[in-house]
């Protein structure tokens, strides 16, 4: 699998931005990607050294809506999230912009 099929997108939220101060960067990754695959992919794309990887399978939230008395039950998509800790002093820049630093 190609590195860019494993790392799908950066995950930019309040929580992930709070982590980035300690060299942690959060990505949405392929649901079946392993930590090893993710490590290689990050190192390849961003030319950095990865210290540690934590992965979390995020369950999509249940959503329901009602329109004219007809309830529609649904669910947000599940996805896999990887929190990547880099070697001290290293940074990731995305398109010239470092999203993760305030």
């Amino acid at each position: 699998m190609d590195a860019r099929d494993i790392i799908l997108s950066p995950r930019i939220t309040e929580k992930s931005m709070a982590n980035s101060i300690g060299h942690q960067y959060t990505f949405v990754v392929h649901p079946s990607a392993t930590k090893t695959q993710i490590r290689h992919a990050v190192e390849e794309i961003f030319s950095v050294n990865v210290e540690k990887i934590n992965t979390i399978n995020v369950r999509g939230k249940a959503r329901s809506s009602a329109r004219r008395g007809i309830r529609t039950e649904g669910k947000q998509s599940d996805f896999k999230k990887a929190v990547v800790t880099l070697k001290a002093g290293q940074k990731i820049e995305l398109g010239g912009i470092n999203y993760f630093e305030q």
């Binding site: 995950r11 930019i12 309040e14 992930s16 999203y99 630093e101 305030q102």
Partner: protein
């Protein structure tokens, strides 16, 4: 600190170039970003918790930039006004100047200001104003007016004469056809020539109750309804009754009834006193007008165009309101004086200019003399307004909140005018 530079363009307008300091700009951007981010929605962040980088990445910097300038420019502008001690009379025209790399940005403001006046002599001016005395006749006329109010209507059995109160039906026809507003039934009217179109009242004179008569009249050329002006009309009039206004006899009893005075002599004296008060106020007003006229003529006062326009529009608005109060539409009023709105506006320009000049002068004199309005004076002015509008004083104050300055200015202007009148040297006019 870099300061703004002032260029006087002419007597009433200036141009200020204000540098925008990078520090101040950064602060303003930060404030603008905070405010904008409160309402920005970006998935993954709560409102108001968006980091600036993410915000700028999503929405761009243009919004922050313009918002920051909107905050900053008025602030810089008012600081610059204080710095140069300017008194603007209109809103400024603001413009961003293109700036070179590494140079601070600059804002150019062009604004009309109150001209600085070289005050000439304004005390002890000689003005000639005619004396206003109260004649015995005027006193009697006022007394008669009081008597009329107390008069009683008594039916009389004789042909009508001028001054009688008559009840009439009438149908007016022009060329044999009745016209709008030309007919009435049971109309009670006082028979006076100047109450009606020429010929109508005199035509009724001599009629007895129950009589029918045709009266030939002609509408004057200057009649307010243009479709009737100059036309001949025939009125078919039926006189129902004739009444005469019985006036009470002028004696001490009458005086006691209409006033708190016991004798007619005292009432006369009081009426005279009041009329004299009115006459004295009128003389004062005339002195004031004469003084202002002299002062305006003696000074070279540059008039800021925006004040002139504002004053002129106000005069036009007053004319419009006056027409409406008299029950005519503004365009009818224009037709009756034979002018278009544009011509009237042109005509009012001269008046407006004199008024603006007068105001500028009075303000300059008030400054020179240090005339101010005390809190007590403001309070009593507000009380006056409150009475006039029948509102509690606090309501008036709240309604005026923004315009308190104009109340203050009005008091100062009046005091200054009084001051000028007191100082004026009056020469009795022939």
């Amino acid at each position: 600190m870099t300061t703004s530079t002032l260029t006087r363009l002419d007597a009433t307008s200036v141009e200020i170039v204000i540098p925008v300091l990078p520090d101040a700009l950064d602060r303003a951007r930060e404030v603008a970003f905070r405010r904008l981010s409160k309402n920005a929605r970006i998935p993954g962040f709560r409102k108001g918790h968006i980091p600036r980088r993410v915000f700028e990445q999503t929405y761009g910097t243009a919004g922050i930039e313009s918002e920051a300038m909107e905050d900053l420019v008025p602030e810089l502008y008012s600081t610059a006004l204080r710095e140069h001690e300017l008194a603007p009379v209109a809103r400024p025209k603001l413009e961003m100047l293109p700036s070179a790399e590494n140079e601070p940005m600059r804002v150019k403001a062009r604004v009309e200001v109150r001209p600085t006046l070289e005050l000439g002599a304004y005390e002890g001016l000689s003005v000639s104003v005619p004396e206003r005395t109260v004649s015995d006749e005027e006193v009697e006329r006022t007394l008669e007016g009081l008597a009329r109010d107390r008069g009683t209507l008594a039916p009389v059995d004789r042909p009508a004469v001028l001054g009688d109160i008559v009840t009439i039906d009438f149908i007016g026809r022009i060329d044999g056809t009745p016209f709008e507003g030309g007919s009435a039934e049971g109309q009670v009217a006082e028979l006076l020539e100047d109450r009606f179109i020429p010929g109508f009242a005199t035509g009724i004179v001599g009629m007895s109750a129950g009589e029918r008569r045709e009266i030939e009249t002609q509408f004057p050329e200057a009649y307010h309804a243009s479709d009737l002006a100059g036309k001949s009309a025939t009125f078919e009039v039926v006189l129902h009754d004739v009444k005469h206004l019985e006036m009470p006899t002028l004696d001490d009893a009458f005086a006691a009834e209409v006033s708190d005075f016991a004798t007619l002599g005292e009432l006369r004296a009081e009426i005279r006193k009041r009329l004299e008060g009115i006459a004295a106020a009128r003389v004062r007003r005339e002195i004031g007008n004469a003084v202002m006229e002299q002062l305006v003529a003696a000074h070279d006062i540059p008039v800021p165009p925006s004040l002139l326009v504002a004053e002129r529009e106000q005069l036009l608005e007053e004319a419009r309101r006056m027409a409406q109060e008299q029950g005519t539409e503004f365009h009818e009023y224009l037709a009756s004086i034979g002018k278009t709105e544009e011509e009237l506006r042109d005509e009012l320009t001269g008046d407006a200019e004199r008024r603006v000049k007068g105001t500028l002068l009075v303000e300059a004199i008030a400054d020179a003399e240090g005339i101010e309005a005390s809190p007590a004076e403001i309070q009593s002015e507000l009380a006056l307004l409150a009475r006039r509008y029948g509102q509690p004083i606090d309501r008036v104050r709240a309604a005026l909140a923004e315009n308190m300055q104009s109340v203050y200015d009005g008091i100062v202007r009046n005091k200054t005018l009084e001051f000028l009148i007191d100082k004026a040297h009056r020469v009795a006019a022939p």
